[in-house]
């Protein structure tokens, strides 16, 4: 074993091929060790690949951070009973969480790392059909993925008897049609079955009752694109980056009021202070006001949180979540109630409507916030919003409703006075009149 050494501030693994000319082409990928991990994987027993991924500590990169190897291990195997059903791998490439912009560049620049990861994963869980569900608006990714899949078929990495192993796999690249909710894994499965993308009640979980009610693994793009590197490097190599419980490298997407927004791949656990240094600091030196560690569904952080380690444990301990490491930076010129209103409008639009608390709650939250930002807030609004959030959180099938409450409750936690000042600066408005306006508007 190598002695523990501190890794470099940036550790390009997933992004290491992005600068190569025509990085998306199979020739480039193969020159840069592409498909060697697949050759190695096909020589072993699938269970040992699952064990490797368990040992590596890889956790899902789509937001929830669930241990990937454990998820694969839940797939029933065997010639009889539930293990006898066909098994499926579904890639969640429906990137759309506000602030998140890592999977789209990955698929555009290095689609073969995802294809190779899909083949290894399918072999490990014994799936013969894999669907890559790409957000419809990400058209150029769809082209790149489709081309990569065609190239892989032509080289014998896909299809029947892959590289003489006896293993068969087909991959279909599937375009979504514009619905944020389809990034939720069970909504994605319903959508892939040709239905409205609405979440399912869990349990049963996809591992036993997923696509076509069969055992299914649903994983994020970045998760599966990490698999070939783990096969090539081993679990100890992977664990040389990040922390004990959050190992490996991660693409941090820095956006907003910084000098150099972009994609920065660093070991898990980097802090915002370090990221800001890499990204050239705050734009024009205007001070930081608030930020999201992992998309708008993760509770806001402020300048107090510059030194929070951005890994799964660190973000949670500080009262937020790592999410998708979509670091959106807002300087002190930005109104918190306004930003929260914009995000809430988003959740209201994207609520699928299945669960009443989320559907109705986001609707009323938008009404309150829009009225408040328009200068007609009342003193009761802050408490009313917290009450509505309390009635949404944990009361719907999926995490969209929970996510919708995050910006509001965290904003009120850190910026309550700003809400109160905004309300105080405006003339009070009578509730009955507002209600008359609202019912008039919807009639």
């Amino acid at each position: 074993m190598t002695a523990p050494v501190t890794p470099d501030p940036l550790t390009p693994v997933l992004t290491r091929r992005w600068q190569s000319p025509r990085s998306w082409a199979i020739e480039t990928y193969e020159q840069l060790e592409g498909y060697q991990a697949l050759r190695h994987a096909l020589t072993t027993h699938p269970d040992r690949i699952i064990q490797l991924v368990k040992d590596s500590g890889l956790r899902g990169r789509g937001g929830a951070g669930f241990p990937t190897g454990m998820k694969w291990g839940f797939i029933p195997q065997g010639a009889t009973g539930p293990g006898a059903k066909p098994k499926y791998l579904v890639i969640n490439a429906d990137e759309g969480e506000p602030g998140t912009c890592k999977d789209i560049p990955t698929m555009m620049a290095d689609p073969h790392s995802l294809v190779e990861g899909c083949i290894i994963t399918s072999f490990a869980i014994r799936a013969n059909f894999c669907a890559i569900y790409v957000r419809g608006e990400a058209l150029h990714c769809i082209r790149r993925m489709r081309k990569a899949v065609e190239e892989a078929y032509a080289k014998g990495y896909l299809g029947k008897d892959i590289l003489g192993s006896g293993f068969d796999l087909d991959i279909v690249v599937h375009a979504g049609a514009g619905a944020y909710i389809c990034g939720e894994e069970t909504a994605l499965l319903d959508s892939l079955e040709g239905r409205r993308g609405q979440p399912r009640l869990k349990p049963p979980f996809p591992a036993t009752s997923g696509l076509y009610a069969s055992p299914t693994v649903v994983n994020n793009v970045e998760t599966i694109a990490s698999v070939p590197a783990i096969v090539m490097g081993g679990s100890a190599w992977f664990r040389a980056m990040g922390s004990e419980k959050s190992p490996g490298p991660k693409i941090y997407s820095i956006s907003g009021h910084v000098e150099k927004p972009g994609q920065y791949e660093a070991p898990l656990g980097i802090t915002l202070r370090q990221l800001l240094e890499l990204a050239g600091g705050m734009k024009d030196g205007v001070p930081l006001k608030f930020w999201t560690p992992g998309g708008s569904s993760t509770p806001l952080f402020t300048a107090e949180h510059l030194d929070v380690p951005l890994d799964f444990e660190g973000a949670a301990a500080a009262g937020s979540m790592l999410g998708t490491t979509a670091v959106q930076i807002f300087n002190e010129t930005v109104s918190v109630p306004w930003a929260v209103m914009k995000w809430t409008e988003f959740y209201k639009h994207e609520s699928c409507g299945k669960c009443t608390p989320c559907r109705e709650g986001t609707y009323w939250l938008v009404q309150i916030l829009e009225r408040m930002v328009a200068g007609e807030g009342t003193e009761a609004d802050v408490e009313t919003m917290l009450d509505i959030c309390d009635n949404i959180l944990g009361r719907s099938f999926c995490a969209l409703g929970d996510g919708a409450t995050s910006p509001i409750t965290s904003a009120i936690k850190y910026f309550r006075q700003e809400f109160l000042d905004l309300i105080a600066a405006q003339p009070a408005v009578q509730r009955p009149e507002q209600l008359a306006e609202l019912t008039g508007a919807t009639a």
């Binding site: 470099d8 940036l10 550790t11 390009p12 992004t15 992005w18 600068q19 027993h45 269970d47 064990q51 066909p86 759309g96 506000p98 602030g99 998140t100 912009c101 957000r135 419809g136 608006e137 990400a138 058209l139 150029h140 769809i142 082209r143 065609e150 279909v172 599937h174 375009a175 049609a177 619905a179 944020y180 959508s191 040709g194 239905r195 993308g197 096969v231 090539m232 490097g233 081993g234 100890a236 980056m241 693409i251 941090y252 956006s255 907003g256 150099k260 927004p261 972009g262 994609q263 920065y264 890499l278 990204a279 708008s296 959106q328 807002f330 930003a339 914009k342 995000w343 988003f346 699928c352």
Partner: protein, 236 residues
């Protein structure tokens, strides 16, 4: 009736799409993109066509078509212009861009300036996060990315589209039109060799990788050859 609208080529493509999936209904989203590529929107005829192809009721297909924002229920312009107005893009200028384009085109959300389908006609919409936040404010024309926009650049872009020009996207394939990209979204790529090209990585995309190479930062070295897979734990 739908026989006249959806020709033999479309019928062949329909079969090809359905054959890709273990169960035929999975082809519904692609088929809705396909009928949209023919008509420029999802019409009642399009819904009937999908229902017949998949042996579903028109109610089942309608329920799906109305759920997803990319299926347009009214005829669209030659181009679809989508402006991100989610929080981060809005802060950086997305709201101003959308307001200016609305004013300039004299239309609102999902409305079309010009005769739908005619050259230079434009359907405008505000979009939710387009997953290009490091490049905000962004907009898309027919789902090709135009990054780091300003009110002025967006205005010039729209003027060029109205004149019949096709300015190159920042990231994506050379610009075509709404119907052509809808065909690709259905999974049919008549010219993938060409459309797969085009720029895809912006300066921002590469910033981390670039900084790492300038400073000589690397991930820890991998072993010379892939290590053996771990043994399985003894089962009790």
């Amino acid at each position: 009736m739908s026989d006249e609208i959806f020709d033999e080529v479309t019928r062949q493509r329909t079969k090809e799409i359905i054959s890709r999936y273990p169960q035929s209904r999975s082809a519904l989203l692609p088929l809705l993109h396909l009928v949209q590529s023919v008509e420029g929107h999802v019409s009642q005829d399009g819904i009937r066509y999908c229902a017949e192809a998949l042996e579903l009721s028109t109610a089942e297909v309608s329920a799906v078509a109305t759920f997803y924002t990319m299926y347009k229920r009214r005829p669209c312009g030659e181009h679809l212009v989508s402006v991100c107005t989610n929080t981060l893009c809005a802060v950086l200028g997305g709201d101003d861009i959308y307001a200016r384009l609305k004013e300039k085109l004299g239309v609102g959300h999902e409305e079309t300036a010009g005769e739908p389908g005619s050259p230079g006609s434009i359907t405008l919409e505000h979009a939710e996060c387009l997953a290009a936040c490091d490049l905000g404010p962004v907009l898309q024309v027919n789902y090709e990315y135009y990054d780091n926009q300003t009110v002025e650049s967006a205005e010039q872009l729209v003027e060029a589209l109205q004149r019949g020009e096709k300015p190159a996207p920042t990231r994506g394939a050379p610009l075509t039109d709404f119907k052509t990209v809808e065909l690709e979204l259905s999974g049919i790529f008549p010219d993938l060799e060409r459309s797969v090209e085009g720029p895809s990585t912006a300066v921002e995309t590469m910033r981390g990788a670039q900084l790492a190479s300038e400073r000589g930062w690397l991930a820890p070295a991998m072993p010379d050859s892939p290590p053996a897979f771990p043994d399985l734990p003894e089962k009790s």
